[in-house]
Amino acid sequence: MMTVDRTGTPLVEMRDMSIAFGGIRAVDNVSIDLFAGEVVGLLGHNGAGKSTLIKMLSGAYAPSHGEIFIEGQKAEIHNPRDARHYNIETIYQTLALADNLDAASNLFLGRELVTPLGFVDEAAMEAETRKIMGRLNPNFQKFKDPVSALSGGQRQSVAIARAVYFNAKILIMDEPTAALGPQETEMVAELVQELKNQGLGIFLIEHDIHNVMKLCDRAMVMKNGARVGTVDVDKVTDDDILGMIIMGKKPPSAY
């Protein structure tokens, strides 16, 4: 695996992030950074706070405490639109697709292409969608159907296309392979590799240890809202990582 240059300014730095929901500290003072061309895995049990941490970066939640820096500059992210402004794109676990709309409408949701008169340009959006789907998932043909009529893998590729299309610099993938078969999982793995080579920074929330070992450069483990530790994936075994997830035990190389 290619080594990542971590000498410069990180692409993303989240410092001392905390958030509480009705007295429960879902994320408690967690810091994390991400460099260009790097894949950082976020691991932990359900409810460990991974998705919540990441939703503060994507603008879905407002942190109670903490600061976010994008390429060294303090970033103000109050809603999903702000996050998009910083070229942060998210593939949510739930996919966040409007089931009643077709692929093109979902891909461009919130960022529709318009004609000079200000009307939504359906044909141009469909053409762009055909282009990017041709690259991501050449078998995809259901451009006219609402996404509720698509298979799990097809829906996933629409969600991925939406994140990739708009020249993301920072990509957040929340369990992108959870609903997929082996072949589609392989497709996502290849895509992650390709995007990484293009210099994107990727946060990957993932339960499958095998995928973590294969795709990630570093992995951060969370437990009960707090950070257990961060490891360089090539310096540890899967058992070390499992130990961190299950017992909160840090291997020697962790920091």
Binding site: Y92, T94, F119, A124
Partner: protein
Amino acid sequence: MSDTPRTSGGTTGQAGAPQRSLMQSLELDMRLLGMIGAFVLIALVFNFFTGGNFLSPRNIFNLTIQTVSVAIMATGMVFVIVTRNIDLSVGAVLAISSAMMAMMQARWMPGWGVELGSPVMAPVAMLTGLIIGTLIGAFNGYLIGYQKIPAFIVTLGGFLVWRYAGWYLTSGQTIAPLDGTFILFGGAEGTLGETLSWVVGGLAALAAIYGVWSARQNRLRHAFPVKPLWAEFALGGAAVATILGFIATLNAYDIPKGKLRRMFEARGEVVPDGFSQGHGLPISVLILIVVAISMTVVAQKTRLGKYIFATGGNPDAAELSGINTRLLTVKVFAIMGFLCGLSAIIAQARLQSHANDIGTLDELRVIAAAVIGGTALSGGAGTIYGAILGALIMQSLTSGMGMVGVDSPLQNIVVGSVLVFAVWIDIQYRKRTGVK
């Protein structure tokens, strides 16, 4: 409308595109066809039992002007229901808008020295009604979107509040007479006449043809598959035939002799012997057509429309896509309120007075029209033309039964049953076709 099956039936056997069925080639919405079918059936049955009176030009004219007020509000209700909300206050908002407009004409403006018949009277009164409706709608939307009070509660409250706020405004009195220009917007009193109606019909037909053509050009430009040419011609032809047939029918309903005489007397003339004049397109129907086209454009061609449907399909996804769903709720209810104000103009002008019970039960008629027209209460699905057809079907049932002599308790029973039955059919249809 009867042209559609005949035109397409003749081409079924042609081997131009054997792999595509007739319906696929036409790319017609099955649900729309079902509704048109139901409407045609209702019309034919009533026509039979009334000995041809139901489909007489006179009755079609009356049916159309009776439908306008509910149909206009039903187009707004589509947006409301699509975003998973409901508006129970439309009849009440119509009532207070109407009360404001009546007070403007009969009390306030005369107090400012503007008398009935003054050219500023009607525009100012109408503007007042539209502004009041829009403001109340936006306020409802604010309570629902920003204060997170369920739409059902907010508008149930509004259902009681606004009608009786109107009652206090008018002290419960019926207010008449209204301004002459204002009354032109009610229907029979204000029509375009034969020539102008043909002009409007001709323009509408040209617009329909242009619509079909430009949609095809747009798809060709991006090298997308297009319908076979004969299908485009069949659809365009059916649209043109419907439009021109409708205009011809409205023109065929002559203005009654007595009214014609009064019209000529007002100009200091005498009606020539054997002179007759058709009504033509009522201004109120023209307004409905403009509303229908505008709302369809908003629904299909604007970001606002996209966001309305996306929010209805998945509110969380819409929010995560950067859509301000709270502001969207305000906009949707403001549109609804505006349309209530517009309907108030037409309803009041048609009745030529304001009474406190104006628009009573309209909320239920409007919701029923939208729902019969295929708007799903679960949100995310609905069409403007469906809602208008729904309103037309409801009005046809009511007035058809009235003509046949069904007494009014039974009328209500039938309309209520039809509502439930229509939704059941729709659910079955969705289940079969796998459409959510």
